[in-house]
């Protein structure tokens, strides 16, 4: 517990609190007099009301579920595709151009297409969010496979490790730090795109809550939704880091030789 507390970024949190206080003061003293800018206290109050009414909890669970489902699909497909590209020169020749084109297309441009194909549904949302999460995972897995030192491949050859065993015992662990980078980026992308898809497609979740409250001019509730989206992103990233630190405590330590 004490160890966790030490990991808290005190300075960073102090800055956030100071900014919120400044915002509160500015609105309270009418230094900023915008019709649609609520004070932080009003945002928190609206958030509490939304939670009590159940809308915020339902929306959060929906968005969280979509982001996680999309991320898991992207993780499985992305690592598999990254391994394929990393191992097969033929696959690289066939797919690289497509990957480069597809990954640079802004994913939001696909949302209208996905709406036509899948309708205003959660399925549409999962598809576009998974699509967005897929590419950083593919690219980083490929990078990780390519960065496996030649010496380790020779060790695998000397010990006559078969293809599957070579992947499991050598390539995946050696590439794991980069695959994790891809997984973290993918998780952020999945959340962002899920919210966007809710804003312009599927009428559920936090994205839709923000749009709905904005159109009803309930800006304090709108800001409460935005706040929860931000907290969700931070929490998901922290959870993923904690999970990998527990699953493989030594994986990222070789730099810290004692």
């Amino acid at each position: 517990m004490a160890r966790n507390l030490r990991h808290l970024n005190v300075g960073g949190i102090a800055l956030l609190v100071a900014l919120a206080a400044l915002w509160q003061l500015a609105v309270g003293a009418s230094l900023i007099d915008l019709d649609y800018l609520p004070a932080p206290t009003e945002v928190v109050q609206a958030g509490v009301e939304q939670v009590e009414a159940g809308a915020l909890v339902t929306a959060t669970l929906h968005t969280l579920g979509v982001a996680l489902a999309a991320w898991l699909i992207a993780l499985v497909l992305g690592v598999a595709l990254g391994l394929l590209l990393g191992f097969s020169a033929a696959a690289r020749m066939v797919f690289t151009t497509s990957v480069e084109v597809l990954r640079t297309l802004p994913v939001v441009a696909f949302v209208p297409v996905a709406v036509l194909v899948f309708g205003l549904s959660t399925r549409m949302e999962v598809v576009v969010a998974a699509w967005a999460a897929l590419w950083p995972i593919v690219i980083n897995t490929l990078g990780g496979v390519e960065a496996v030192p030649a010496r380790l491949h020779e060790v695998a050859a000397v010990f006559r490790l078969s293809g599957a065993r070579r992947i499991r015992s050598i390539v995946l662990p050696a590439a794991a730090p980069l695959i994790l980078v891809g997984a973290r980026l993918g998780l952020s992308f999945a959340l962002i795109v899920a919210v966007v898809a809710e804003m312009i497609g599927n009428p559920q979740g936090l994205g839709h809550l923000v749009i709905r409250t904005q159109q009803a001019l309930r800006t304090e509730a709108m800001f409460a939704g935005i706040l929860v989206i931000g907290l969700l992103g931070v929490a998901l990233n922290a959870a993923l880091l904690a999970l990998t630190a527990r699953a493989a405590p030594d994986m990222f330590e070789p730099g810290k030789r004692s």
Partner: protein
């Protein structure tokens, strides 16, 4: 000098080699003829080895010395099946080498890069057993424990390799090879990065392993003293492209000793001869 004529009688050279203990697998040797290798370089293909003839008897310890750039490592990679020869034949026993043979294990110089940092010492040593044999878990644990004991690391099985000193890390790599009970050990300047004292104790451990199980050992080094101290024969690799230009039989008795062997007049004269053959400079 007619090197090849002498090399046609490897049995003579291997006369004093310790015989494998009863129950051990039959010793296995190399027979290479007119081996040539070209490697891609900045100005197209470059010939690294040409016309290499090499006979290594089963159970023999052969040192290969040469200045840097003469293709020592390349030759060892060819023997280990990590690099195909462009010309000539490479036989291990009766079999042509195409890919790493099941009975030979290569030990690399750069132990830090050849070990898996995410695995414990014990699981590093078990790596070869996972891939190579259908041996049971109990059998595997026994082989790993034996191999760690053989290099004096019995108590360090649960450490990560990067927590160990350089000499201990190289011991882990040697244990990983020994766990397979290989009939051939191919060693590429394995002690080149270690300090003198660590180097001496690892040399003696290697000789102790050889005295017990008599694997065939091909030992590449640029250290003349080490080549003479370890070997039954010293081969000199020289030229560009590299070829075996000389061969020095080592008639020193075994077991060898860091002090008495190295004070032996024969050791000193062999050392002198190898030094000259390699083209080493004499200090002014």
């Amino acid at each position: 000098m007619n090197v090849s004529a002498r090399m046609e009688t490897p049995a003579l050279m291997a006369r004093d080699v310790p015989q494998p203990a009863a129950g051990e697998q039959r010793a296995l040797g190399y027979s290479c003829h007119a081996v040539g290798v070209s490697l891609p370089g900045p100005q197209g293909s470059r010939k690294v080895l040409a016309g290499v003839d090499l006979e290594v008897a089963g159970g023999e310890v052969v040192s290969i010395v040469g200045r840097s750039g003469t293709g020592k490592t390349t030759l060892l990679r060819v023997l280990g099946g990590l690099l195909p020869a462009d010309e000539g034949t490479v036989l291990l026993g009766e079999q042509a080498v195409s890919g790493p043979p099941a009975s030979a294990v290569t030990v690399f110089q750069d132990y830090a890069r050849a070990l898996l940092p995410w695995r414990t010492v014990r699981r590093n040593v078990a790596l070869g057993l996972e891939g190579r044999r259908a041996c049971g878990r109990a059998e595997r644990e026994r082989l790993v424990a034996d191999a760690l004991d053989a290099v004096g690391l019995g108590g360090r099985g649960d450490d990560r390799p990067w927590r160990l000193s350089g000499g201990m890390q190289q011991r882990v790599q040697i244990a990983r090879a020994l766990a397979l009970r290989p009939r051939v050990l191919l060693m590429d300047e394995p002690f080149g990065a270690l300090d003198a004292m660590t180097k001496a104790s690892l040399q003696d451990e290697l000789l102790a392993v050889h005295a017990r199980t008599a694997p065939t050992i091909v030992f590449v080094t640029h250290d003349v003293d080490e080549a003479v101290y370890l070997g039954d024969r010293v081969l000199i690799l020289d030229g560009q492209p590299g070829a075996i230009t000389d061969e020095v039989p080592v008639s020193l008795p075994r077991p060898r000793d860091q002090l008495t062997t190295k004070e032996h007049p024969t050791f000193l004269s062999l050392r002198h001869r190898v030094h000259d053959a390699v083209g080493g400079a004499h200090g002014a």
